[in-house]
């Protein structure tokens, strides 16, 4: 029974893909939309039942759908591993996925490629479910590539926009670099364990040498960094905002980009063996968290601010993994899915009500015009900024506290500054968008309206989750969530530690102070003295320009990697065309030259000889005129004999023998 349910989870969206993909043009958009979100809803129900079952039994189990590859020593099944980690991911993916699908029906209403959009979205769900459910690396990889492909298709959804097509391409190619690392890790795993099944690999993981474990872990990390948009492969995510907003919410905030975090946690047994790799994970995460947050400070596109915020929050999750706080990483993954989906979708609602405007400089004063949207957006802001008791506070605080308690002070500092910046840019976004004078075009302002119910209801559910979602992890480190994940996310060899309550409360107050500080600064700069922000920007133009241009990383990559590659290709292409043509022309020329030479020889040697012979012939003919019947035949015969004589002489001369 459970096995059937497990298999059904990815099958529902798959059926929807086939229906909408093959027959979608035959029925109305309305029905296509219902099929799409209905399928995801059914998956969610199945996931809930699987989760309930897991709650009661608590035992992990595997479900094999069929044998996919077998040959020689390699044996890979299309199989699923159901354990607490999987069930949490399943709930997040199908739950948030369902809400976003419902929202999309309203958001994409009337779009030309409505059915196509939902086909891709469902295909994405299938891939994402394979990714989190797979019981071996190869199924994980299939899902991994599948979500990348769907992300590509969906970013490029507005195909008439050149920038969208470019962004899609960029996302895919950057991800492919990460994937190369991931695939390498898979090969290394197979070379060392002769299997790709998680359970078998993790059973034998103890026999790995530190060096091998580090190599595997670093390769995995390359994959994770690509998918989860961490330094140095983060550049694709902000550009990916070219896609429709629900796509940004589902793929580029709540689910796909967290795949890297899931993968690291899933493989924590290998990472635990490789302290060096783990440290790298932590520092990549910490630096990304701060770096992306700093870019987010000055961006003016509502979705881009959220995109950098996503990169930054993913950095927190990586940081958590790097310090062995795997449960905290998954906890933050979950709460982030709630509030970031909420923020993106409500940003989508804002964009929707403004007729497609995304520049916050052309917004302002919206809180009275679209109060519902404003309220849910505010909930999301409070949650991400870390204001208690909303969800983001609990998960972020846990990561920071863990870093401090385990003496990762450098990472703690990065996280703390990052948290301050996060609170600042999110409230800046809120103030600029919803408060102050309206800076909208008059005809846009005239049409501002609250979004339809089908879009608002998912927002309310997500707002509710953003408020209460953090309580599953209360009290910190000992909540229900921690107990549930204890078996799958406890670092190998972790010692139980006792932390004084006063330290915990102290860290918590610091975190709250940081969040309030960020809020306060934003309030001062954007609500109390709106001129102050511009003054600040003009006072430090260098820093401002650097941040606005995202540290010129894109330009740098272009100049250092993309352009040289292209140029090399062009040069080689030119060489190819030149060399081959020269070669052929050269051979042609050679024939010309030799032809000239042959003509000359004919004229001066052969004909001379022939003339002599002909003359002789003439003499003979003169004497034996009667025998002269057909001159032409004679000539022909003579030419043939002459040719053979000539060749004979030539050969003799060449071989050095005497002529006779």
């Amino acid at each position: 029974m459970m096995e059937l349910l497990v298999i059904l989870i990815p099958v529902f969206p798959l059926v929807a893909v086939l229906l909408n993909g093959l027959l979608g043009h035959r029925y109305s958009h309305d029905l296509a939309g219902r099929i799409a979100f209905g399928a995801v809803g059914l998956s969610f129900v199945c996931a809930l039942m699987v989760f309930g079952h897991m709650l009661t039994t608590g035992a992990a189990y595997e479900v094999i759908a069929y044998s996919w590859i077998f040959g020689g020593e390699l044996m890979v099944n299309l199989g699923f591993l159901i354990d607490p980690l999987t069930t949490i991911m399943l709930l997040v993916v199908t739950g948030v996925g369902f809400l976003i699908h419902v929202y999309s029906v309203g958001y994409m209403h009337g779009e030309e490629g409505f059915t196509r959009f939902f086909t891709y979205m469902n295909l994405f769900m299938v891939s994402m479910l394979l990714l989190v459910m797979g019981n071996n690396y190869l199924v994980l990889f299939i899902g991994w590539e599948g979500v990348g492909l769907c992300s590509y298709l969906l970013i490029g959804y507005y195909f008439d926009k050149v920038s969208a097509a470019k962004a899609a391409s960029k996302a895919f190619v950057v991800n492919r670099i990460g994937d190369a690392g991931f695939l390498m890790a898979i090969f290394l795993v197979f070379a060392n364990f002769q299997t790709l099944d998680y359970t078998k690999v993790f059973e034998q993981v103890g026999q790995l040498s530190t060096g091998t474990a580090t190599a595997i872990a670093l390769c995995l990390l390359v994959g994770a960094v690509g998918k989860s948009a961490q330094i140095p492969l983060y550049t694709w995510l902000p550009d990916a905002m070219e896609g429709p907003t629900p796509v940004s919410a589902l793929i580029h905030a709540a689910t796909m980009v967290t795949a890297g975090v899931y993968m690291v946690v899933r493989n924590h047994a290998i990472f635990d063996m490789a302290p060096m790799a783990l440290t790298t994970v932590g520092w990549i995460g910490g630096i990304t968290a701060l770096f992306a947050a700093s870019i987010g400070l000055v961006q003016n596109d509502i979705k881009r601010v959220l995109a950098y915020s996503t990169v930054s929050q993913l950095g927190y999750m990586f940081l958590a993994c790097g310090i062995g706080a795997y449960t905290a990483a998954i906890f933050h993954l979950m709460t982030h899915a709630f509030f970031k989906a909420l923020l993106f979708l409500s940003a989508g609602a804002v964009i929707h009500s403004l007729g497609g405007e995304q520049d916050i400089r052309k917004m302002g004063g919206l809180h009275s015009k679209i109060p519902m949207t404003y309220k849910v957006f505010l909930v999301g802001t409070l949650a991400i900024a870390g204001i208690p008791p909303l969800a983001g506070f609990w998960s972020k605080d846990e990561i920071m506290a863990h870093a401090f308690i385990h003496a990762h002070y450098g990472l703690y500092l990065l996280a703390a500054i990052g948290a301050f910046l996060t609170a600042f840019y999110m409230f800046r976004l809120t103030y600029v968008t919803f408060y102050g004078q309206s800076r909208m075009d008059p005809d846009v302002e005239h049409h501002v309206h609250e979004s339809p119910g089908i879009m608002m209801k998912p927002l309310l559910v997500l707002a509710g989750l953003s408020v209460v979602g953090g309580f599953v992890g209360f009290p910190p480190e000992h909540g229900w969530f921690h107990g549930y994940l204890a078996k799958v996310a406890t670092p190998v060899g972790a010692l139980p530690h006792v932390v004084s309550l006063s330290l915990l409360l102290g860290l918590m107050s610091v975190a709250i102070a940081i969040a309030l500080g960020g809020w306060g600064l934003a309030h001062y700069l954007y609500a109390v003295r709106p001129q102050a922000a511009d003054d600040l920007a003009t006072r430090v133009p260098g820093i401002y320009a650097t941040l606005l241009n995202k540290y010129y990383v894109d330009e740098g990559y272009d100049r250092i990697i993309v352009e040289p590659c292209k140029r090399l290709g062009l040069i080689w292409d030119w060489l190819d065309r030149q060399i081959i043509d020269r070669c052929v022309r050269g051979i042609g020329h050679m024939t010309d030259v030799s032809a000239c030479w042959i003509t000359w020889t004919e004229k001066h040697v052969v004909y001379a000889g022939l003339n002599v012979i002909g003359y002789g012939n003439h003499l003979i003919a003169w004497s034996w005129r009667k025998l002269q019947t057909g001159m032409v035949h004679h000539y022909a015969a003579v030419i043939v004999v002459g040719f053979f004589l000539l060749v004979h002489v030539l050969l003799l001369w060449l071989t050095g023998a005497s002529i006779l």
């Binding site: 020689g72 590509y152 097509a165 391409s169 895919f172 090969f187 197979f190 292209k566 292409d573 052929v584």
Partner: protein, 492 residues
């Protein structure tokens, strides 16, 4: 000297196909033009018959004509692949030739003769016999490349191919003659004995080895002997390009593997480094130059060069000195798997190129594909699957092929080679996806919108169906093909 019946029976498929080719050439003038497609169907019938003959003797290992020819599982595997590719080419050509108004029956005759050449190449146990096969294949191809005889591009391609092909054949033949000089025989088994006893440091052996590698390098289009490929692929009729890119490459790899592993198996360290270097430059060159191409046939030409580079990874694995025989045969079987999968996706891609035509202008420029998804959903979708597969993205077959190759490399301890291969596979996504981008994410121009004709006939539909089925099925369920390749490797 009499020809024993047993020997003749061993090469029955070759004889049948030669017979069919001759019959075709004889029947061509007397057939009424309307019934000419019968000749194509006749060739197809012959291929099907031969397919069954070869498949039924798949597990045999028979020598014939005093060891000039060997029919072993390895040869049979390549032959089956070659039948399939030839059949798909013939089906594709039936429509394409009519579109191009070069519908001549001798074309099919040349395909069959070229096929016989390839079959001889993969099942020859003697260098001269291999050479014979190469020449038979190449001469037929020279003519087929120039089949669009009223088009300068085609003639030029043919001339270039001929000149350079003859040149490379000469080099190969020179190598063979040197080997004959030192060994007194052209049999691979005897050459192997002589080469092993003289050792790899013998200058004559080394020179002969170089010459042979250069000769085959031309045929498989490995850098730096690839230069004919883009021009010839570009100029040749598209169906011929598909045939060359797939069948001739597969056959050349089949022969190259046998020559190097059986003939020069004793001096692996002497050639493995060369193959390694060739593999690296082929990967880098093919992939980087493909990025800047704007013509889809040229792009596919460079892509085929790059794929030769991937396949060479398997040869490097097989040629690892001191590698266990299990690892070495994994290298060989992964090449066989890779080229089989490569055949499906490449034939599919070329088939789409062949049917996307705009009023007499071939759909060859990348621009011709602009907005194809709007105009021909199905064709665009198939092309996308082929491109995705060529880029090696799961769950398509292209991924399985690369997976086994790189896996073999890692198992043989060639981790860095696998890393480089993976990076270039990542780079390749760029140019393959550009085709997808152009098809899906650009609006067709007004003139393209109005010309909506696809050269789609039942015959081309069969080709596309076979190609897509291969790409999808082998991606989802590669096990049968994998086990066939693993049981058909060269004996080590």
């Amino acid at each position: 000297m009499t020809l024993p019946l047993a020997d003749l029976l061993t090469i029955l498929p070759e004889l049948l196909i030669v017979g069919a080719a001759c019959l075709l050439l004889v029947l061509d003038p007397v057939m009424p033009p309307a019934k000419k497609s019968l000749l194509a169907w006749m060739s197809l019938g012959t291929l099907v018959l031969c397919f069954f003959i070869s498949a039924s003797s798949m597990n045999d290992r028979v020598f014939a004509f005093s060891d000039l020819v060997v029919v072993d599982p390895y040869a049979s595997f390549w032959k089956l692949l070659l039948y399939l590719v030839s059949a798909l080419t013939i089906l594709l050509s039936m429509t394409y030739l009519k579109e191009e108004r070069i519908d001549l029956a001798e074309y099919y005759g040349f395909i069959l003769l070229s096929l016989v050449g390839m079959m001889v190449m993969v099942s020859a146990a003697d260098l001269l016999t291999i050479y014979l096969g190469i020449e038979l294949m190449s001469i037929s191809l020279y003519i087929m490349v120039g089949f669009k005889r009223f088009e300068g591009k085609s003639i030029e391609a043919s001339a270039k191919y001929f000149i350079l092909g003859a040149f490379s054949s000469g080099i190969l033949l020179y190598g063979i003659s040197l080997l004959y000089g030192i060994g007194g025989s052209t049999r691979l088994s005897e050459i192997s004995a002589v080469v092993t006893s003289r050792g790899g440091d013998d200058p004559l052996v080394l020179i002969a080895l170089m010459l042979v590698i250069v000769g085959f390098g031309f045929k498989v289009a490995a850098v730096p002997f690839h230069m004919w490929t883009p021009d010839v692929y570009h100029g040749a009729p598209t169906s011929v390009t598909a045939f060359m890119a797939v069948a001739s490459k597969a056959a050349s790899f089949g022969a190259l593997l046998r020559v190097l592993l059986e003939g020069f198996g004793g001096v692996k360290p002497n050639w493995n480094g060369i193959i390694f270097a060739m593999c690296l430059v082929t990967l880098g060159f093919g992939n980087l130059v493909a990025i800047v191409q704007t013509n889809i046939k040229r792009m596919l030409a460079y892509s085929s060069i790059a794929h030769a580079g991937y396949a060479l990874i398997g040869l490097v694995v097989a040629g690892q000195a001191g590698a266990e025989s299990a690892v070495a045969s994994q290298g060989v079987s992964s090449i066989m798997l890779y080229l089989a999968i490569y055949s499906f996706m490449t034939v599919g891609a070329f088939a789409i190129v062949a049917i996307v035509r705009r009023s007499g202008v071939e759909g060859e420029e990348l621009e011709d594909f602009t907005g194809l998804a709007k105009r021909h959903k199905g064709a665009a979708f198939l092309m996308m699957v082929f491109m995705v597969s060529l880029a090696g993205i799961p769950p398509t077959a292209g991924f399985i092929g690369k997976f086994y190759l790189f896996m073999a490399a890692v198992n043989a301890g060639l981790t860095w080679l696998a890393v480089i291969g993976l990076i270039f596979a990542a780079v390749s996504a760029f140019y393959y996806l550009r085709v997808v981008m152009v098809m899906y994410m650009r609006e067709p121009s007004a003139s393209q919108e109005s010309e909506t004709r696809l050269a789609l006939t039942p015959a081309t539909a069969i080709v596309l169906a076979c190609a897509i089925a291969g790409v999808v099925f082998l991606g989802l369920y590669p096990a049968p093909l994998v086990s066939v390749t693993q049981s058909a490797v060269l004996p080590f």
